[in-house]
């Protein structure tokens, strides 16, 4: 591999890692603050992608579709928290797993009823539908760079929200000591609703912005779910910063594993996870 190729692969892994972070951030947030294991997280990614496809064909604009889709995802997250999840915060993790496992099937079926089982594509917005030539026969789609930029912006926003705002302070307080926070007169139920809606919205946004390059198809959620869990476990369950570092690591290992050690490409990421857990059983940034 020459140096130019190395840089391109580095770009590939960065871009993949950032997308993984978007996906995993919501999962780790929901676990860290409410202690809920959410297996249905991949389904929100899938629903986001289908929403993007459906709304983009209605409005003829992906940007508008993402705005409306985000609002719908927030509403869905809020409703799910209110109807189901808040009754499960004090239950065993196994109950939560059963609930969210059932939700996977429900969402797949709803998707099938609403939109069918076809493979769909979402057109890349005209403005960014071009490529930058990198070598004599390889170019890089600008839209991929846009995705990375959006991911970086959201990561930054998330960081500011949690560490610099009043709401973020309440969220952290709630995660740290629930009873004490409630005793101080903070509406913890409201905070939980907000955090859950935020987590769902993050997964849905990841699905929406990835839809033009990933296509939209049944079962797309389950394929990303496992990677999400790997990222969350490596980063330390509940740590958003850990998720970012872990996602970038997974991106690197996956990309270079595929190229340099194709025989073990399928295992490389899991070997990374095993290695990290051996030295840090609670992940890199356990809170």
């Amino acid at each position: 591999m020459d140096f130019a190729n190395f840089l391109i692969q580095l770009l590939n892994s960065l871009q993949y890692g950032l997308l993984l972070f978007m996906l995993a951030a919501g999962l780790t947030l929901i676990f860290g603050i409410m202690g809920v294991v959410n297996l249905a997280h991949g389904s929100f990614y899938m629903l986001g992608a289908y929403l993007a496809w459906f709304l983009a064909s209605q409005f003829d604009s992906l940007v508008l579709a993402i705005v409306v889709g985000t609002l719908l995802a927030v509403a869905l997250g809020w409703a799910l928290e209110w109807l189901l999840f808040r009754h499960f915060y004090h239950r065993d993790h196994l109950d939560q797993v059963l609930l969210t496992f059932g939700l996977i099937y429900i969402f797949e079926e709803v998707r099938s009823i609403l939109w069918g089982d076809d493979v769909h594509s979402v057109p890349v917005p005209e403005l960014v539908n071009w490529s930058i030539p990198l070598t004599d026969n390889l170019s890089y789609p600008v839209y991929r760079l846009v995705i990375s930029a959006v991911c970086v912006a959201l990561a930054l926003g998330l960081y500011l929200l949690i560490s610099k705002t009043r709401l973020g302070m309440k969220i952290r307080a709630g995660a740290f000591n629930r009873e004490m926070t409630e005793a101080l007169g903070i509406n913890i139920r409201l905070i939980h609703g907000v955090v859950f809606a935020l987590g769902v919205a993050l997964a849905a946004i990841a699905g929406m912005i990835a839809s033009p390059i990933s296509s939209v198809y049944p079962g797309m959620g389950s394929s990303v779910l496992i990677m999400c869990f790997v990222v969350v476990v490596i980063g330390g369950i509940g740590s958003v910063r850990g998720a970012l570092v872990a996602a970038l690591m997974v991106g690197l290992v996956d990309t270079f594993g595929k190229v340099l050690l194709p025989q073990i490409a399928g295992m490389a990421v899991y070997m990374l996870m095993a290695g990290v857990l051996l030295y840090k059983p609670e992940g890199l940034f356990k809170q």
Binding site: M1, D2, N5, I8, Q9, N12, S13, Q15, Y16, E108, S112, D117, D118, V119, H120, S121, P123, S131, P133, T135, N137, L138, S139, Y140, P141, Y143, R144, I213, S214, S215, V216, Y217, P218, G219, M220, S223, D254, T255, F256, K258, V259, P262, A265, G266
Partner: protein, 395 residues
């Protein structure tokens, strides 16, 4: 206590069912006046539409005979296999033991097929495979009572090599998912491409169903091959076509593939798929009177456009009709039935094909080029392609 008693009774029932199945592998079939046909196909999940298309095609072939098999009425049974390999044996047994079917038609997913295959070999029930291309079913574990009407996984790619070298593409990279179907497709490609004088520069793979192709596309660009050959299907195929195009590779590198690359995904892939060359045993756009009539009849009956899966279902029906007619509906005279099916020539919408000794079609493979979201047939890539049937001993 109730719970424990319930558990006990249930286990007893399960053990009872299992042991009776063990003790009586040969079910005595009530010789009713109706032929019992069982569909074990995916009716839910990713492959749901394939299951429906296969059943439609099968019923259409029977309807052309007035809905009868060798003069006897037909009764249908259905089991949704959910494309779930874990339930393959259980579901097949439901049709064979509970419904006592004479014929089991199924299925799409190769993993589930292995479950059916075990049940078919143990019970001796006639099994017609309308899609799953898993090699062993007509190779090392071939069986007198198992017939495939679709393809083996390496059949389409067996026709690919010659077509590529003829177009001057002598250096190629192969890429697929690292799973059984991908490996089997590679076997066909490797054999035909090296025999035609081509060189495989590198074999690339990624875990199924991973769709993060970017790293491998960068690798392909640095290898600068004449062509890329691949095996992908479904949603992953659409993404691969788009990513390949977006990376600018389609400008200088011709993309080839086993035909499933461009089945059912052309709408999603859009212009990115234009110019891609694939080999397969059928194309919707096949311009023959036989195919046109089939497509018209199918569209009239089912208010939907048929695809390759509908054709395979239809051919499964045609094959069974041939067999049943030869024995005048007496499906219990197995020797004569199997002999008739083995010697059958099927007048299919895909073109005429014959059954091989290992019970897999010997069929023409078409070379197809994607133009305006259609697999345009540009010729026959190879005539009468047969699966090597390595290790098959009937008996």
């Amino acid at each position: 206590m109730t719970t424990r008693r319930l558990v006990l009774t249930r286990s007893a029932a399960v053990i009872g069912a299992a042991s009776s199945g063990l003790l009586l592998p040969q079910i005595v079939r009530a010789q009713s006046d109706k032929v019992r046909v069982g569909f074990m196909l995916p009716y839910t999940g990713t492959f749901a539409q394939l299951g429906v298309a296969i059943e439609n095609g099968f019923r259409m072939a029977l309807n052309e005979q007035g809905g009868k098999l060798g003069g006897r009425e037909v009764e249908f049974f259905k089991v949704d296999d959910e494309s779930n390999p874990a339930k393959g044996i259980e579901n097949a047994n439901r049709l064979v033991q509970r419904d006592k079917v004479d014929v089991l038609v199924g299925t799409v997913h190769s993993g589930v097929q292995m479950g059916i295959h075990k049940v078919a070999r143990d019970s001796g029930v006639l099994n017609l495979i309308p899609n799953a291309g898993v090699h062993v079913a007509t190779r090392a574990q071939c069986s007198p009572n198992v017939f495939r009407t679709s393809f083996s996984n390496s059949q389409p790619t067996l026709a690919l090599g010659k077509a590529m070298v003829e177009r001057g593409h002598k250096k190629a990279v192969w890429i697929t998912w690292n799973y059984a179907a991908g490996e089997e497709a590679f076997e066909g490609f490797e054999q035909s491409y090296t025999a035609a004088g081509g060189t495989i520069v590198k074999k690339l793979g990624l875990p199924f169903p991973n769709v993060e192709f970017q790293a491998l596309l960068t690798e392909i660009a640095s290898l600068k091959p004449d062509a890329v050959a691949c095996f992908f299907a479904g949603g992953g195929a659409a993404k691969f076509l788009r990513d390949f195009h977006a990376a600018g590779l389609s400008k200088n590198i011709q993309l080839y593939g086993s035909g499933f690359l461009t089945e059912g995904v052309l709408e999603a892939a859009g212009p990115a798929a234009d110019g891609v060359l694939t080999t397969m045993h059928y194309s919707d756009a096949l311009d023959t009177p036989r195919n046109k009539k089939f497509r018209l009849d199918y569209a009239k009956t089912f208010k939907a456009q048929p695809d390759v899966y509908a054709v395979q279902g239809y051919d499964t029906g045609l094959l069974l009709v041939k067999g049943a007619n030869a024995v005048k509906g007496d499906l219990s005279s197995k020797k004569a039935l199997y002999a008739a099916m083995e010697g059958a020539t099927i007048d299919s919408p895909r073109g005429q094909w014959t059954m091989s000794k290992a019970h897999n079609p010997i069929q023409d493979m078409y070379l197809r080029k994607v133009e305006n979201k259609e697999n345009k047939v540009i010729g026959i890539a190879q005539k009468a392609v047969a699966d090597p049937a390595t290790g098959c001993r009937m008996g």
